[in-house]
């Protein structure tokens, strides 16, 4: 993982190795949902290289902080999805058990 930023900390490109659309597209979603972000997008420079570049431009906050927060958001979403899903599955199993008896 590299980190390309200049004097101006509010705009950076992050190059993530061994990642693809899976993470980049989800991160693009959470980044775009952050009001501090003005522009963000990602690209995969070459299809046979496992690498994705994520561009983040902000209204002034350091771009890497914003990206970190976005990752945090995505993690919280995942955790919520997981707990809700587990509950729903447990519910389904219980209901099925009582329904068939």
């Amino acid at each position: 993982m590299e980190h390309g930023s200049y004097q101006d900390r509010s705009a950076s490109t992050f190059s993530l190795a061994d990642e693809d659309h899976t993470l980049a597209n989800s991160l693009r979603f959470t980044l775009n949902q952050d009001p501090r972000v003005t522009v963000c997008g990602y690209s995969i420079p070459h299809p046979s290289e496992a690498r994705v570049n994520i561009r983040v431009q902000t209204t002034g906050d350091p771009a890497n902080e914003v990206l970190k927060d976005s990752c945090q958001d995505l993690m919280m979403i995942c955790q919520h999805v997981r707990s809700t899903f587990d509950l729903a599955v447990a519910d389904f199993k219980n209901n099925k058990g009582s329904g068939s008896e």
């Binding site: 993982m1 980190h3 992050f14 993530l16 990642e19 693809d20 659309h21 899976t22 993470l23 597209n25 989800s26 991160l27 693009r28 979603f29 959470t30 775009n32 949902q33 952050d34 009001p35 972000v37 890497n64 990206l67 970190k68 990752c71 945090q72 958001d73 995505l74 993690m75 919280m76 979403i77 995942c78 955790q79 919520h80 999805v81 997981r82 809700t84 899903f85 587990d86 509950l87 729903a88 599955v89 519910d91 389904f92 199993k93 099925k96």
Partner: protein
């Protein structure tokens, strides 16, 4: 939509979009020619001019997000994910297919194979057989690791079709026999001079896999009933298959799902009352019986949308001129009907939670790299 002066628009509660924009944001319209509004509007400031905040509010997400399980058994699962963006639902799908590890046969040591199936084809067929074992109990084997009881599962296959019998025999996947002590070929090379042709045909198991609590009364098996080869009289197959841990990205044989997919919930809306003859016409048009007829009394019959979930969006009902004004076909952008078909290594509900965990791990990795 007719033009209305801005000041004639009804007062809207704060943080709510006018209905037409709400429709564009939350629905894909499936028109006769092409679908429109297919993109998801994710930019936080997209509606800033209207004073509507489009940013992510976790509290809001927590309130709106729902999961409904529709079907669940050992192999398949269907559930609804409601209130989540396509990018995240798609991430789960991609992880399920290509990044969840399983065990699959990677090395095949052929001692004898005189069937018509060539060795490499045979090895490929063996590789694709799903192995019913929890991959979380095993480690990845890297290039200079020696195969041991923690990263390798060994199966043996010895099948012979007697010449005298004169009949053909079929070799099935359940003829594979699990060897909890590891490879048997290593003993043969040590004890006798007629060594097998490949020098690396050994595993160094320190203990039997049977002694592990997980496998002691639960032997490792493969999905039964898959045809591996057919033998003619006098033909024989004798081989050993070594399974290791891997992910679907490397080769599809490691994919834990037969497939995983989602579709957005379809929504069928009748824009006008459709009555009598037209109602019957509409019911007859639909190949999957989305519509029903309701008796309104006084001999009036009206069409209703009874089963929108079944709609395949074939667009037959709006194909004829004039019908597009009567029926609107849409897709709900944040309602995903997710289906997972497991190959048997793990039950589908575990697969999904594991997939979500992998996405979390990815985020964590980025966070640690950045700080």
């Amino acid at each position: 939509m007719p033009k209305v002066p801005l000041w004639d628009l009804p007062e809207l509660p704060q943080n709510h979009l006018p209905p037409h924009l709400q429709l564009q944001k939350t629905r894909v319209s499936c028109n006769n020619d092409a679908p429109t509004n297919t993109e998801s509007i994710i930019y936080s400031g997209a509606y800033a001019a209207m004073g509507v905040d489009n940013s992510l509010r976790l509290g809001e997400f927590r309130k709106n997000f729902k999961v409904n399980v529709m079907k669940l058994n050992e192999e398949d699962m269907e559930f609804d994910l409601i209130g989540i963006d396509a990018s995240i639902a798609n991430a789960f799908r991609r992880i399920l297919i290509s990044e969840l590890p399983t065990m699959a046969i990677e090395k095949v040591l052929v001692a004898n194979s005189s069937s018509v199936v060539q060795d490499e084809v045979l090895a490929h067929r063996l590789g694709l057989i799903p192995i019913k074992v929890d991959p979380r109990l095993f480690e990845y084997m890297s290039e200079n690791d020696v195969p041991n009881e923690k990263n390798t599962i060994v199966f043996k296959l010895h099948f012979k079709c007697e010449r005298k019998s004169g009949e053909r025999r079929t070799v099935y996947s359940h003829d594979l026999e699990w060897l909890p002590f590891g490879s048997e070929y290593v003993l043969r090379t040590e004890n006798s001079s007629d060594s097998t042709s490949k020098p690396k045909t050994y595993t160094s198991f320190n203990s039997s896999q049977e002694t592990l609590p997980e496998f002691s009364n639960n032997p490792i098996s493969v999905t039964p009933g898959i045809i591996i080869s057919k033998l003619g009289p006098g033909q024989e197959i004798e081989l050993e298959a070594h399974a290791v841990k891997g992910v679907g990205k490397t080769h599809a044989k490691w994919s834990p799902v037969a497939t995983a997919w989602y579709r957005m919930l379809s929504e069928v809306v009748l824009l006008q009352d459709i009555e009598d003859e037209d109602a019957q016409k509409l019911v007859n048009k639909c190949p999957v019986n989305v519509f029903d007829i309701e008796d309104m009394g006084k001999g009036v019959k009206r069409a209703t949308v009874a089963r929108p979930r079944d709609c395949t969006l074939c667009r037959e009902c709006i194909r004829e001129p004039g019908w597009e004004e009567k029926v609107a076909l849409r897709r709900v952008k944040d309602h995903f009907i997710f289906t997972i078909e497991s190959t048997g290594a793990l039950p589908p509900e575990v697969l999904f939670t594991e997939a979500v965990k992998i996405l979390e791990d990815k985020c964590e990795r980025v966070i640690t790299e950045l700080s």
